[in-house]
Amino acid sequence: MKLIYLFIITVLLAVCSLFVGVENVSFSALWNMDEEAWNIVMISRLPRMLSIIMAGTSLSICGLIMQQLTQNKFVSPTTAGTMDWARLGILVSLLFFTDASPIWKMCIAAAFALFGTLLFMGILQRLKQKDTIFIPLVGIMLGNVVSSIATFFALKFDLVQNMSSWLQGDFSLIMEGRYELLYISVPLLIIAFLFANMFTVAGMGEDFATNLGLPYKYVVNVGLIIVAIITAVVILTVGVIPFLGLIVPNIVSIYRGDNLKNSIWHTAVLGAAFLLVCDIAGRLIIYPYEISVGLMVGVIGTGIFLYMLLRRNAYA
């Protein structure tokens, strides 16, 4: 599939996203400068669309970076436990830094996410068995342990309600003033694009990269910091969106290969398109109510993930 087609589809989906919702907004109303219609678009629909695009793009790139650096197709912010650590970080910031601004909460969550991901990488190096399926299982188990610790403290301090809002990704509460933190992902994505070539070489392993004069540890750390911050930001604004970072890079890998130079743009655009589809579908299926995007991605994602697992020998 050509990038330009993918891009056009994404733009069309983004436009659709603007006009789907309980409150009817039509082209003609916007054309006639209807004030109410414009208000809805500017306060609710546009922020929602922008945050879907940013979250979809950045989570997919996160997955791509993690898969490249761990040389494992099944590692992503979900399966490495990064998301669970970020949630624990948010809980800690709620408990101990109640008055902290969102930026500080994001920093604490990112620090936890980074620690968790480094821990996962450390365990990876120590593992004798480098089986492709075994590694993400370790990550999922680690994530579940962290998640249950978080739930325990949330129960103790009556924060379960707060916690569950980050459990399931949801764009319905996104509006002007509540999503701007996501813009932090834009400069991080630019850095990821600049590092694309280096991530590819680093993905070949430490010896291989060192032989080519690449500062391996530095590149890996840059990658993991990008992943940690983006994950924290997305969870804090939207919530957990499972599987996105897993499926999108894998789909792109099938038709574009694993040279990041060839696949990073496709991954970015397809990530946005995939999340837009899930969100629009979630809004239409039980209209006028809506299914949260986390659930939609989870359901569709599990299906695709299973399919990938079953035929992994064909391409992975």
Partner: protein, 251 residues
């Protein structure tokens, strides 16, 4: 010239390399032979800065290897390790292009593309260049990795068991290719090799290692001798002269 002085390396409390000193001459093939676990690969890794030695110093053209910029070294010395398991979907050409990374950081110039094409042609993989690595046979994959090292265009080339996975025909082709690199371009090649007949026929010098030490070293004809080989391998080995080559019989 590569000079190693009193290199030692411990893995835990086990000494895998003990006080090894060695000089490797330029413009020649030097083969490292010896039983498994003798420390040959470890020595090559230290010489190429992939592994930091616990004691001693490695000089490359007179300069301490660990005090040079990694990126500059990558233009002087290239190493290919034993196991190259690739999980990623990369084409042959993409892999070979990595060899140009030290020069252009992934944004290939016309000159880089030229060198990549030459390297692929050198190992006869032109027809496969757009195939993914996981579609290749073990031997083709091995040749693709060799091509990458060639594209890196370094004076020194270190290969850890380059004949792994190669059938007889391709093994011979590989050794002839290495010979040609020495004769045509004056490259310096260090090999870890298990087949002593390949070592005997194609190398200029041989270094024999055992238990982390160098037990014999010298021109090929001095090392490929029954008594010397007996001390290395603990095996009775007959050496015959067949059409000007010294061939070992040990079956």
């Amino acid at each position: 010239m590569i000079v190693a002085e009193k290199l030692s390396k411990y893995f835990g409390s086990k000494k895998v390399i003990q006080d090894v000193s060695i000089e490797v001459k330029r413009g020649a093939i030097t083969s490292f032979i010896g039983p498994n676990g003798a420390g040959k690969s470890t020595l090559l890794s230290m010489v190429s800065r992939l592994l930091k030695q616990d004691d001693g110093i490695v000089y490359l053209d007179g300069k301490d290897v660990h005090k040079q910029k990694s990126k500059d070294l990558a233009k002087t010395i290239a190493i290919l390790r034993q196991s190259n398991v690739v999980q990623m979907r990369l084409t042959v050409r993409e892999l070979v292009s990595f060899g140009r990374f030290p020069y252009s950081s992934g944004r290939l110039t016309d000159e880089d593309e030229q060198k990549v094409s030459e390297a692929i042609a050198y190992v006869n993989l032109e027809e496969m260049e757009d195939n993914y690595l996981n579609e290749l046979s073990g031997g083709q994959k091995q040749r693709a990795f060799i091509a990458m090292v060639l594209a890196q265009d370094t004076d020194y080339i270190l290969l850890d068991e380059p004949l792994n996975n190669l059938d007889m025909k391709h093994a011979v082709q590989m050794m002839k290719l290495l010979r040609k690199l020495v004769e045509d371009f004056g490259k310096t090649i260090l090999l870890v090799i298990h087949d002593i007949n390949f070592a005997s026929v194609y190398s200029d010098r041989i270094v024999a290692m055992k238990d982390g030490k160098i037990v014999a070293e010298g021109p090929t004809e001095d090392i490929i001798q029954s008594d010397v080989l007996k001390s290395i391998y603990d095996l009775d080995i007959d050496v015959h002269n067949i059409s000007c080559n010294r061939i070992c019989v040990y079956f």
